[in-house]
Symmetry: C2
Subunit: 454 residues, 2 copies
């Protein structure tokens, strides 16, 4: 079998472009309408994509206590749905597509997270995936009564969190359920295991009270690209979403991540690297560029400036718009890789702040590509063969239009080139991603049952 | 308009009877099959019931470290789905029925809970309800690295938890969203409010990052009947599930709860009291009694004994089966009202432990009623008119059969008697329960915007 691309549709309200909600091809009232997302999932499934993915944060973006941020936020689509509740509703109207939700390890409990994903995996027949994030924002901490933990501390907690969650997913062996009606034995509780985890961050007895799900472990996805983030990904992730602007950076990231795997006893093919790409599609290049321009004309700089100020840690006002980005350090307790990417982009291309805002509005740091379906397929193909990607995280600028354009025009082009499937090969998300189903670590380790009198 | 009954279908795996999974009319393999629950929700909707309800706990029932409990648990159906993920999948295939999920205030964060219910309320078009529990079990605490807080402490936390959640639900005024495309104003952030809650248990800044949902506040349901539980219900609950064995007890509970409302500025009709009932339905009384007997014959006493030992705090062995329940105090840090109910039941009717197990197996302390549709309707009617109930929490012994029997035979009987609706009157769960939609506490309290230079 030749190597094939894997494609994930990153769903985001009515589109990834900051100004999508103002564009005539979107309907912003659908931001909290489940049917909108159901339609998107069905379009992605029609295109045989591997999965849909929902990002998440646990605060309104940015510091709501700041009058400036509050003022700037007025210009952006706000207040969408929570990913896990939404994905169950998408599971109910689809059959094949993977369903990946973002959940933070910083403000959650492993028992709840393990259980909700196991439940979604049952509900979807083995299509659940978890995008593991550590919540880089300061506003998020304030919704949980704490000061934001340091970057290192967040990743240390995430590492132990994953250890606990995976134990809980293993706590029921595959054959623990007997359903012996005549004998009155529903389960063999010798094959259901307390995990008795006691660590630095968590003490969890287990077992889980949801039985082992179709995938054993829902798929693990990760999206932080700092040093700690990459190490975490090498240890646990099976798919990595990443923002890479140039082929060289993409190749470097790809090689770097794959190189780290061996230390955890993992192989090259155990992790898929999926850079983000925002395809602005037209039937001619001119039409694509026109759409790009339409969106750019709808940008309100105050919003982007407030976001950029927050990301870089420097106060940027409208006076700064036509000057280069001021000097700034990459170090932060927030999201390190995002900050570095933005600073590098401005430096490399010598962008003014206004130009930088234009570039970020399209894909928030992800690569934006305007062109015909063939031109876009060319780019995906190039990265795929040049060792920069195992597939892509597709971020349509407007939704649903940008996704149906991709599915109806780019996907067939990729199929004809032999780069993408004509139909689903597997039943589960893991199977479609070509990843193995983990065995329970407790399998065979039968607990010595205490002799029970009665 | 004459007063009508409200009916909630309490869904529980393949039935409420402890031995339901062994009965030939159930399919225990459907315990984690979403289609089973979707079918149940559709049956309830066909019967015009107000809502379906899912119970929950955050541990396998009972102390898994005890060999005895582990051994006993083998006989019971275990390891179902998590309610919130499941209800979204039910929302997707129904249009009218209310969707009530149990979530604990003891091991959760108000921000997450507020957001998930707001999200479910959007997804279902205003049909979400929250059964608020405080997690009485000791095993639950061990999944969150803590010692179980005292009964009083759990209710104190629950009270503040509700204060925070309701503030978060109010944090977006109804008209905060503008969607002014031309002006580029998505929202009026002066109508989105930080809540800045700082209390004994929680510090939460807000606002919520999900916009105000169709019901404003998802419906609040409560099910604890201790002193603290009733006080909590009087303060916050809009529907109360309760287990009452006799008409006199039912009347007393009903009057007691309604009497407490005034202290919180609430009226008699602001809360619906819904006692649980497990109807064992036959087309003749004999057929009903036969079904009851079939189920009783499938009980495995070891399981009930272990549960009863845990509930009462006394070790009960098989030797105790044919003797009366030993003396035991009602005081506990666990679930007080459940314990009291069980002890009272045994005393009042002079039951042996074996007889008590039989009574508990049917409804776990709820009233079990075997009879024809007319006999069951008579009982519901009697309680309804005698001031013991505003409606009922229907707990079918076997599922789906017990629910479809209720919907197809008892519901028409109630309709003919003018006691139950022929069709949904409202769009939302609140409207069907006849309860008002709360206004945002912040409405009108426009935040003084700081002049923003930028
Ligand atoms: C494609 C992509 C999607 C992301 N989605 C989220 C998200 O939904 N929520 C979030 O808190 N962070 C998200 N992030 C950020 C990271 O996951 C990570 O939490 C953050 O960048 C901090 O990690 P780092 O310092 O290792 O980069 C995303 C990043 C990428 C590249
Ligand atoms: C109909 C009914 C359903 C209940 N469902 C749950 C449940 O799903 N989860 C739970 O932890 N407790 C449940 N309970 C128990 C109570 O909600 C409460 O948490 C417990 O009884 C302790 O409160 P108390 O001491 O005030 O009675 C239920 C009780 C009743 C009557």
């Amino acid at each position: 079998m030749t190597r094939k691309l894997h494609l994930n549709a990153f769903l985001m309200g009515v589109g990834h472009h900051e100004a999508a909600w103002r564009h005539p091809r979107t309907e912003p009232a659908r931001l909290t309408d489940v049917r909108h997302y159901q339609e998107l999932a069905r379009i992605a499934e029609r295109g045989k994509l591997d999965s849909v993915f929902l990002a998440d944060g646990v605060a309104l973006h940015g510091d709501f206590q700041s009058g400036r941020v509050r003022h700037a936020l007025r210009h952006n689509a706000l207040g969408g749905l929570e990913p896990l509740t939404l994905l169950s509703a998408l599971a109910a109207v689809t059959d094949h597509i993977g369903l990946i939700a973002t959940v933070s390890t910083t403000y959650n409990e492993p028992f709840h997270v393990a259980r909700k994903f196991a439940s979604l995996d049952h509900i979807s027949g083995g299509r659940a995936g978890w995008n593991i994030v550590t919540s880089a924002g300061e506003a998020e901490a304030r919704n949980f009564g704490v000061v934001r933990p340091s970057h290192a501390d967040r990743y240390a907690r995430a590492t132990e969190f994953l250890d606990v969650v995976r134990k809980l997913w293993d706590s029921w062996e595959d054959d623990a359920i007997l359903r012996d009606r005549t004998g009155g034995l529903y389960a063999d509780t010798g094959k259901i295991h307390a995990i008795e985890h006691a660590g630095e961050y968590f003490a969890v007895s287990g077992p889980l009270n949801t039985s082992r799900s179709p995938q054993g472990h829902p798929l693990l996805v990760q999206a932080g690209s700092s040093e700690d983030g990459k190490e975490f990904a090498a240890r646990y992730a099976e798919a990595v979403f990443t923002a890479q602007q140039t082929l060289e950076e993409g190749q470097e990231f790809y090689a770097d991540l794959k190189r780290r795997l061996a230390a955890y006893g993992r192989r090259h093919e155990d992790v898929l690297v999926l850079p983000g790409i925002s395809p602005i599609i037209g039937s001619t290049e001119r039409e694509a560029l026109r759409l790009e321009q339409e969106l750019e004309d709808l940008i309100i700089p105050a919003y982007g400036l407030a976001q950029l100020s927050q990301m870089t840690g420097i106060e940027l006002t409208e006076d700064a718009l036509d000057r280069p980005l001021p000097e700034v350090s990459v170090e932060t307790e927030g999201a390190q890789s995002r900050r570095k990417l933005v600073i590098d982009l401005a430096r490399r291309e010598g962008l003014t702040v206004r130009q930088l805002l234009g570039r970020l509005a399209g894909g928030r740091g992800h690569r934006v590509l305007a062109g015909t379906p063939e031109q876009i397929a060319d780019q995906l193909q190039e990265w795929f063969f040049a060792g920069a990607a195992d597939g892509f995280n597709i971020m349509p600028p407007i939704l649903p239009g940008g996704l149906s354009d991709f599915v109806d025009h780019v996907v067939p082009e990729l199929q004809v080139r032999g780069l993408f499937r004509y139909d689903y090969e597997g039943r589960t998300l893991r199977e479609n991603y070509g990843l193995p189903r983990p065995a329970s670590r407790y399998a065979g380790a039968r607990r010595e049952e205490v002799a029970v009198a009665r």
